[in-house]
Amino acid sequence: MQKLAQLLEFGASGSAPLSELRKQLGSGGCSSQGGAGKSGCGSAAGQGDLPPEIWEKVKNHPCYSEQAHHHFARMHVAVAPACNIQCNYCNRKYDCANESRPGVVSEKLTPEQAAKKVIAVASRVPQMTVLGIAGPGDPLANPDKTFKTFELVSAAAPDIKLCLSTNGLTLPDHIDRIAALKVDHVTITINMIDPEIGAKIYPWIFYNHRRYQGVEAAKILSERQLLGLEMLTARGILVKVNSVMIPGINDQHLVEVNKAVKARGAFLHNIMPLISAPEHGTAFGLAGQRGPTAQELKVLQDACEGEMNMMRHCRQCRADAVGLLGEDRSDEFTNAKVEEMEVSYDLAARQAYLAKVEAERDAIAEAKKAELKTLDDEASGIAIQVAVATKGGGRINEHFGHAHEFQIYEVSTAGAKFIGHRRVDLYCEGGYASATGIEPILKALNDCTAVLVAKIGICPKDSLMGAGIEAVESYAFEFIETSVIAYFKDYLRRVGQSEIRHVVRGDAAIRQGAFTEA
């Protein structure tokens, strides 16, 4: 908690003031007028102007479509423990039951165990549309296990989309196999295109049977990553680029990375905050390297949002996560439990669920369009952020005290735009307020004007009010974006009638740790 307090002291740890950072980033060249006209992912809600064949690929993929992540689940199987590079934000040595850092999993699987797990989950969780292999090492440093798993799964469950996430070092060597297996989504983690910067992030790589270090290592890695990206886009395989935002090291440079990957055809760019709690024992964590604040992250994401989609809904989930983004049901599907399960693959039930989602999704889009129209007559320069408690389905359907995370929307007369989520420690535990109290939640939501919930107790409501955040229950179980716009209209009305005063909110803290249910 002390760490969070430090992070909130914006500018106190040697970083540039927010306004200055914004100015620097804005002049970076790929800034834009926001994502209003864009489609498909990151910020926009639906098909928009995406070509039909690409829309087909992304519409049910929770990582590639912001809209889909409300309805569809992904699972990762941990079949790839080996890695071929060392990153300063990763510590491979550390693993325990409460581990909450990306890249680490408690249970490793053989391809056969993994395939059985996938079928078991798919037959019980109809939302599960995507299988990803993301580690805990690098999938392409374990090519035999990775591709064997894909083969087994696509034979048994051909409707499941396959994707993999890689550091890119050996990617150019595997393009044919990736294409042959119909892996249609690949994520490459690209943190730099300048080897001088790369040398501060990667101590070494293992390539062509030897170790390379420093600038030489970063140069090889960068060339291989960009080559792999070009080769994939040439084959029509959708590529998402992940970048870890490391303040003072690559934060401003990521604008250049964004331009470089956009020029090579990347479909989506996901800039994630560095996770660097000292107890994780990573090189960055031990050196006291801080992660970005919520507003620093947003400023950078906004600056990169040109013609390219930015992903804002990443949960930085573990390499063995199961469920909707923001949900982890991996405990229900441990090796031992899967071994005992009678597994039958029910394609019809899965297709019935898809049809239900299609209908719900159309209803959400229609409602949003109608609500947006009512903003036409409003003229105001005010923009606010609103937090929402949801457990999926695109509705405000979570109790404040039961929320593991809040979704954050930015709303102005231009409409409502999803800009990210904030993980929090559960406020309510067994009917009582948690030991950590409400303080961390106030910090996580500090840049928001209101929080829309299904229900909230009087105590937390008062605490939020004291911090200048209005807790609102009147939109319970309604569609999220429609409600956010409706709240905003009411807010403007109240400001107009001097019932309330518009206050510009401050910055917020990003909770450390990958998403786990614990």
Binding site: P81, A82, C83, N84, Q86, R92, K93, D95, K108, P136, G137, A141, N142, F206, H209, R210, R211
Partner: protein, 74 residues
Amino acid sequence: MAYRIVASQCTSCSACSIECPNAAIFEKGGSFAIDASKCTECIGHYDVPQCVAVCPVDHTCIIDSAVPRYQAPA
């Protein structure tokens, strides 16, 4: 004659066993181990021992002082 793996430091990531040109590395009780009779210290294969170069934890793949150093066939 061989390298060995310090089991207490091994993360069991299997990277060494993938790279070993002699298939000398196997899983044993939650970590990995090297079959000293198969290890050639990568002499004749590569400039550096592959397990040492790829291991994410430094000083985990080390020379096994209990056995004589590997001698390449003349």
